[in-house]
């Protein structure tokens, strides 16, 4: 993107490229957002969300944070929205039959509130930041040449590493924000475990917990569970409410060397 910008700049003027790209992506993002909140079909809505996320990734690129842009696409658009779609598929609620927000009066009130907030934010945060110092920060030197403005400081720092900006980011993250990094890793682990527990069917009992790892889809040392070759399907079968006796999943063959066989009976 940087190259693209520099090329376009060389071609069409100072940071015209940035401006053009900004407007394109901005309009795209806002339009997709509006679509998300108004679409009835949830799958279509999720797709609109993807479009929004990609537009924002583009905005990141115009902001010279290419690492973030890529991360945005990979994680947000690639994993999170996929999760959304999975849940939609499992629950089977792709068509939103629910009416919007009950009473029309509430809808109008909500919209008005949103407008109010938007105007307040615009007034507060946009006004002071439209001058030259806001481009690069008040104490970063500005190279003003032939009417252009360019943040020299950021460019210098960016120039130090390879064009991806990863080292630029990583250098700060692993020195000053190490603890936050570790904690976020812990957070992800906890979230995963929590999600697994939360998504159970309610008729499962406690002792099934011990056998769950065998038949639940996490592969034992011998690979897949004896009956299920598709762990995800087992989950799906569980979640879909089938009377799935977890005992079926466990290999009752006494010859089987399942290490976690703690069943008594």
């Amino acid at each position: 993107m940087l190259l693209l910008a520099q090329a376009a700049e060389a071609a069409a003027g100072p940071n015209t490229a940035e401006i053009v790209l900004f407007w394109v992506f901005a309009v795209l993002a806002l339009g997709a957002a509006l679509a998300v909140i108004t679409m009835r079909n949830i799958v279509h809505g999720a797709l609109m969300l993807v479009l929004n996320l990609l537009a924002i990734a583009g905005l990141y690129l115009t902001l010279e944070s290419s690492f973030l842009g890529v991360i945005q696409i990979l994680v947000y658009a690639g994993a999170i929205v996929v999760l959304f779609l999975f849940v939609v598929m499992i629950l089977g609620v792709d068509r939103d039959d629910l009416l919007l927000a009950g009473r029309g009066r509430n809808q109008i009130a909500a919209v008005l509130g949103g407008v109010l907030l938007a105007s307040a934010l615009l007034f507060a945060f946009v006004g002071p930041y439209t001058g030259p110092p806001s481009v690069c920060g008040s104490d970063a030197p500005i190279e003003v040449g032939s009417g252009q403005q360019r943040c020299v400081g950021l460019a210098d720092q960016l120039a130090e590493d390879d064009g991806s900006g990863a080292a630029f980011l990583g250098e700060r993250m692993f020195t000053r924000y190490t603890y936050a990094f570790e904690l976020s890793a812990l957070l992800l682990t906890v979230a995963t475990i929590g999600a697994v527990i939360l998504a159970r069917r309610k008729d499962l009992e406690i002792e099934d917990l011990d056998q769950e790892p065998d038949g639940g889809g996490v592969p034992g040392p011998d690979g897949l569970g004896p009956h299920d070759h598709d762990p995800l399907a087992a989950i799906g079968a569980d979640l879909a409410g089938q009377d799935h006796d977890p005992a079926d999943v466990v290999d009752t063959d006494p010859d089987d060397q399942t290490p976690t066989d703690e069943r008594e009976g």
């Binding site: 927000a101 509130g113 949103g114 109010l116 907030l117 307040a120 507060a124 006004g127």
Partner: protein, 651 residues
Amino acid sequence: MAPIVLAVEGANVVNDVVETSTGAVGAAWLIPVIPLLGFVLVLSLNRRLGHQASLVAIAASGISFLLSLAVAAQVLADPATYLRPLPTWIAVGGLEVGFDLFIDQLTVVMLLVVTGVGFLIHLYSVGYMHGDERYARFFAYLNLFLASMLILVLGSNLLTLFLGWELVGLSSYLLIGFWFEKMENAVAAKKAFITNRVGDVSFMIAMFLAFATFESLDFLVLIEAAPDLGATTAFVLVLLLLGGAAAKSAQIPLYVWLPDAMAGPTPVSALIHAATMVTAGVYLTVRLSPILVQSVGAMTIIAWIGAFTALLAALIAVRQDDIKKILAYSTVSQLGFMFIAVGTGAFREGIFHLVTHAFFKGLLFLAAGSVMHAMNNQTDAWKMGGLRKAMPITFWTSGIGWLAISGIPPFAGFFSKDQILTEAYLHGYGGVYVVGLIAAILTAFYMSRWFFLIFLGEPRFGDEVHPHESPRSMTTPLIVLGVLSAIGGLALNPVHRGPLFNFLEPSVASVAELGYEPAGPLTEAVLIPIAIVAALLGIGLAYLAYVRRDLSLGRMSEPIKGPVAELAERKFFVDELYEAIFVRAGGGLATAVTWFDSRVIDGVVNGSGAGSMATARVARRLQNGLVRGYVAWLLVGALAIVGVLLVQVVR
């Protein structure tokens, strides 16, 4: 010790101050203590002894009397102001108050009167209270009263006097309300106590002022430092003391309790409300006469209050039909005379009248009690008559009392009353003299009416009543007091400057410095016959009205009629006036305060509880369980924060 000089410059006789713990004076502390022990003993042995308990009480009062005689003998022999040191009561900061006894001539006079009359009345009560179910308790209370009065009289400082003052008030309350089963007796007792309380407040303020001025409450200090009092301080102090004395001695405006106090048993009326308690106010003012003489203006006020009280009470007494009430108003009136004496600077004459009044008024009350005893507790004079035949002893002794109070020589009352009026005139108080003279005429009139209606004429009662003479325990005191009323005046002070007068000289302040001038040209030689004529006039008018007439119609034949008479009968509506002003106002204030307390104060407390509950009831609707609602609140919060930031940005 240095002699105390009560009379300023030119005094003839002064008292030395002697501190002693020996002799009769040394044992004088027993005088109040023995009746006090009697009180405790009788109460604790009440059940065991029953009727015999009265003997303990009588013995206690008898011993007190004998001891008082001994003390009197010592003081007569060696005139001085004796101080008997006793343990200290309060020693705090600058205030030091002890139980020391202060015995001088004035004390001796008071002691003899109190214990003598007290003993006689203890004796009388044996017969009068016979058969009462709380017989022993009555005697216990009588002893308590005796002890309290003695503490009052013997104290060497204002605080001990006040202690006795309060205790006699308490005893009076207990005794007036002795038959508390009847509501009106309890109400009368309460009225007496509360009215006295008002006076006590005045007394207390006087004590505060005295302490502030003199740094001490001891009589010796007060007496010696009295000449240094400033005019205003003296005036205020005397008036405050008057406030206290007026309540105890039933003067205007605080006399209203005394007539109601007749609800108590007659011995109580005789002892407390004739002879002793009501004289406490007179005693107080005479004891502090050195302070009184520092403010002639205040003394004049005292004199006029006494005069008006004497007149008012006499007017009311003219139209009362209850024999005890007549005597009660008579007491108020005679106390007015004593106050006239104090106010016009005739201190010793006032004490003389106090003594003679104790004799004849005590006698009259006991006689009334005797009559009531014979007539089944009847008190309406119109339902009596002709009792002279049935009750000779009572008749003759009452006759003596009647003549004494009317002021007929040579009976006791003549001397004392006449000396007061003469002295008032000679000290320049002509107006007071005239008012006092009119009151004297009225006194003779209504007392004659009292006597004639009860004893003379034809019986106005039916056959259901059989009057007979009272038992010996009741007639003996009557006889003793009758003798005293007859010869007491002659014995004590037949001429104006007689034995009692001289005896008391060192105890009271001299008025020589006050520069009194006679009110007119009349001399003593003229004033005495005027007094006699006044007395005879009163008796004569009463004779015409009540003796040579047919009184068989009872009250209908009352010859004194007219609007003034009606006013007098209604006691000039003073009680009603007090009730309307003070009782209603007090009740209204209490109601208002109660309203305020229950509405405002409780309202605030309850209201805050109710308010928080109401707020909660409204506020909890915020939590409706709807997620999107909470998000809406989120929006509001966000707007608020942005608003705050905006404000900062704009600034």
